[in-house]
Symmetry: C2
Subunit: 101 residues, 2 copies
Amino acid sequence: MAARDALEIVQGKWRIPIVISLTFGDKRFGQIQRDIPDISPKMLSQELKALEVNKLLTRTIHDTMPVTVEYSLTPLGKSMNKLIEDILDWGVYFRQEVLEK
Amino acid sequence: MAARDALEIVQGKWRIPIVISLTFGDKRFGQIQRDIPDISPKMLSQELKALEVNKLLTRTIHDTMPVTVEYSLTPLGKSMNKLIEDILDWGVYFRQEVLEK
DNA sequence: CCGAATCCTGTTTGATACTG
DNA sequence: CAGTATCAAACAGGATTCGG
């Protein structure tokens, strides 16, 4: 089932939020962390790695001083755009129907 | 963030598969279990309850002999349709791009 | 600033057996 | 048929400390 493959990538509290953060442009570690206030550096580091392994994003080291590391979505990562929009849309709908009634 | 609300509902290995199973019609406990071969009765029971609490499905007891219980998506549950399609689509794409290359 | 490495905890999940 | 009960394993997440 294709759902299983997709779900495995998307599972966990943080991956979708990370991808969302990067849809608005390439970011550095600290910038992503600011977008997702309650993520610990450990989890961010760990999830970024997982997403890199699955080819959703790339990690580029800029040899500046001090070193900066930039994260950027791959085309595959960007292809989640539609999926993410639907998640957001559905989240809004769900909120109206359940949380606010 | 609306993403958070949606994600909380959708999280876990089994909820999406359960909703998928029910999009093809109302089902009974054992039928869902057959659709999702590796789910344990415990997990199925637990996740069905969670989905019921979140108003994604209803549980109807038919007073037959023996008793049968039928699960059926609510309009809110059905509203996940588009989301689920996109998950499946993206899963197929992901498979092509990563798993088969 | 951008992480890596360890250690530790609670929740989630699973295997299995059993019940009305 | 439609679940519960119990026990164990796995995993996610957090706290803290350290390094270039």
